[in-house]
Amino acid sequence: MSGVSLMKEIVEKLVKIVGAEFVSDQPEERYIYSMDPGTMPPREPDIVVIPGTSEEVRQIMILANRDEIPVVPLGAGLVLSGLSRALKGGIILDMKRMNRILEVNETSRYAVVEAGTSQGMLQAYLKKHHPNLKHSAPDAPPVATIAGNVSIHGSGHLSHAAGFHSDMLNGLEVVLPTGEVARIGSCATSPYWFSRAPLPDLAGLFLGWAGTTGVITKLAIKLYPNYKYNDVGIFVTEEAQLIPDILHRMTGTQVAEDMTTWMTPKPDWARGFLHCDINFGANTKDELIWKRNLIRASVQEYIDQKVAGFMPLPPAMKQPFLEVPARTLSRFADVRRGGGFEYVGAIMPVDLFPEAYKVGLEIADSLNVNYSLGSRIIGVNHCMMFFYAYAFNRADPADVERAQKALEETNRIVVDMGGIPWKAEAPAQKEIIRKMDPNMFDLMNRIRAVLDPKGIMNPGNWEED
């Protein structure tokens, strides 16, 4: 059967599974789904499908597996590094209709959601129905999905307190490339989705793989207390080499929820300074003051030496720093009036902060790109996600290329430095593979061969040349 008639037949079968209104092989959808807002070049899918249930996903996978059609799961497509482009054509599985919030367990603090549930929807749902609970939201725009974010080891507003978002995962329902539906975690043996322990932890088969091992259809994530009082402090220094110790001291108090740093040349007053935002909350005003004092005491030595200090912040100015997600991050895409930015998010030890910062400034300077640098602390200073964001004007190919070059250069240097690019673009994955213990890569391939014998899941990712 020719490629064209095979695709026609697949479209007909998909229509039977999900209904005609949720299948498209039209040029408009193929165009829009060929790219994300980052710098990676477009790759057209043959078909876009929007399933509504796990059962529909299962039938789609059986069909795709039988005919060896690539399948690429898509959340909101906001990863920016092109991970949900159809590198080898095939089907894009747009998960947005699977957005039901299935359960919130108030006492054991978890929520079970379908994979297309967005960060914003869960946030709003909790605010309305469970105001004492919240989840750790990333600063990604609120349409980003919970599953897309957990599956790439995302991080967010509770990451200092509780780690990567994948650490907050309690369980999964996945449809395997061969069409079986598997439950992972406590939900595999119990009606409750309370944890991944004590069973063998198979969740790792679907975390960090860029959608190459299966389709997550449901997941449970941990929820946390939503404090009545919330505050932010901004600690500022001009000396990058002090940052690892400052963060070490402040995280040691274990009273904050989120700690991030940011360094930008704009606005002018911010240039040259390293800012550390400390977000914390409490049930009472007294508790809030107590926490503020603990954080301050941990870095009092630096304040006394006059090498660092807290920025005075009137209450009205605190609002943007307390906003979840922070809209200001998306606005970085407009600095060149060109609708684009992409970042390397490098997971690395906090010790590397001064070097990481220096490298960022050097790259931005040498390639003349608009930059924004910063980091988010994961755990109690256990590591950080250091970001190098570069803005570009998508109407100017030379500008896009400059940003691409800056990203490539950054990825390469990060790997050499001992960091690991997170949600890495397909070319950056190859950089990582080059450095990776060959036995780990071999094991990855063996696992993939078992789970996905026909290689249909998001092919082109986690592959050597």
């Binding site: 408009e28 909101a76 709003a124 609120p142 609708g339 109407a395």
Partner: protein, 388 residues
């Protein structure tokens, strides 16, 4: 194309798909069709691709462009200041390009043809425009304080006519001096403008302005928020300058001051903001003032209200062209489900288009037993009859 210089600036971050509280998708076209192509960001990038000749003028492309119902949610929510003010103008400019090229969906073509030949979207005779007022004693406008402008739906649609009569009755009962032009007026043209037929809009606006000016109209009360928007904001460019009011703005201060003789049974009511009163013109309070001033009303808000209200899908000409269809993801059906969740027995509206669209949705959702759509003057008349 006008505004083409902003198309590439969209980041496709998707804030524009949501209301401010993020509770669900809030772009009616995206809600109805689900594909990214129908989202505000998708249509920005598609328009760019179309201008760059990467996409042809297919039927689907036309459908995508005309599925935008001009609700303004994207303008409200987009995260880029200033740029966002031009979003909807860019979408309208895209429609205008298609209109000028003669490549529009058949339903849009037929609707525009009706406007052109008959001065209304239905293709009904112009002389029937005052049919709604036949059994009422309403004067022709001469030296009245206000011109009352019923618009197309109030003039021709049977449900619209009921609402029109109810509003006129309340205005009269409260001593408001108004007259009408009946067959001498044509459509306000708001939907024509929204569909990108700017020349036809100019023609309709100029026809009305001639009529208004010949009788020295100074103040206008509109039935429809759509007409309110066009006459208040868009007629200015053609020399039509009037004090324009939506009827809720006239009635709110009057009803607020009224006293009532007897108690009336309680009625749990929620309110659906019309986009052309709310987001387009910042008028959120008049209807709420009326409702909260009436005895017996227990007012409850939906999750999406005021700036964040979900559009019923009746704008942008879709009321007449039905591009969004009637499926379960249709915004009016989603809106009715949301209204029913508040346990309100009445969904109040201040727009005849919203009333018709949402009443259909109640039937489609089989929620007739739980909730009823009522226009605010109907609620006021009903309660005032009981209370006085």
């Amino acid at each position: 194309m006008q505004y083409e210089e902003i198309l590439h600036r969209c980041f496709r971050c998707g804030y524009c798909k949501l209301p401010g509280n993020y509770i669900d998708f809030n772009c009616p076209a995206y809600l109805a069709f689900c594909f990214e192509t129908y989202s505000p960001g998708g249509r920005m990038w598609l328009l760019r691709a179309w201008l760059d000749k990467k996409i042809e003028t297919t039927d689907r492309f036309q459908e995508i462009l005309f599925s935008c119902v001009n609700c303004g949610n994207c303008v409200e929510q987009c995260t880029f200041p200033k740029f966002k003010d031009q979003l909807l103008l860019a979408f309208m400019a895209g429609k205008e390009e298609l209109v000028n090229a003669g490549k529009v969906p058949p339903a849009v073509r037929d609707c525009l043809t009706n406007y052109q030949h008959h001065g209304n979207p239905y293709g009904f005779a112009r002389k029937k425009r005052h049919g709604w007022a036949e059994d009422l004693e309403v004067d022709r406008f001469s030296e009245h304080e206000y011109l009352f402008f019923p618009g197309d739906v109030g003039s021709y649609d049977s449900r619209g006519q009921e609402i029109c009569r109810s509003v006129a009755r309340l205005l009269k009962a409260n001593g408001i001096s108004f007259g009408i032009f009946g067959a001498d007026e044509v459509s306000d043209g708001n939907e024509v403008n929204a569909m990108g037929e700017t020349e036809l809009f100019r023609y309709l606006a100029e026809e009305n302005i001639k009529t208004f000016n010949a009788s020295q109209v100074k103040k206008i009360i509109t039935l429809s928020p759509h007409a309110y928007n066009a006459i208040k904001n868009d007629y200015l460019q053609f020399g039509g300058q009037y004090q324009v009011f939506h009827y809720a703005q006239i009635l709110a201060p009057i009803i607020k001051q009224q006293t009532y003789k007897s108690d009336v049974p309680p009625m749990r009511v929620t309110y659906h903001d019309s986009c052309y009163l709310g987001r387009h013109n910042g008028e959120y309070w008049s209807a709420r003032t009326i409702l909260s001033s009436l005895p017996g009303i227990q007012f409850v808000e939906m999750d999406r209200n005021m700036q964040n209200a979900l559009c019923c899908g009746g704008g942008g000409g879709n009321f007449f062209t039905d591009i969004l269809g009637r499926g379960a993801n249709n915004p009016a059906r989603a809106r009715i489900r949301e209204a029913a969740e508040t346990a309100a027995e009445v969904l109040a509206v201040a727009c005849p288009l919203c009333a018709v669209v949402l009443e259909d949705a109640v039937k489609a959702e089989r929620l007739d037993e739980r909730i009823e759509v009522k226009e605010i003057s109907e609620i006021a008349n009903e309660i005032l009859d009981k209370a006085n």
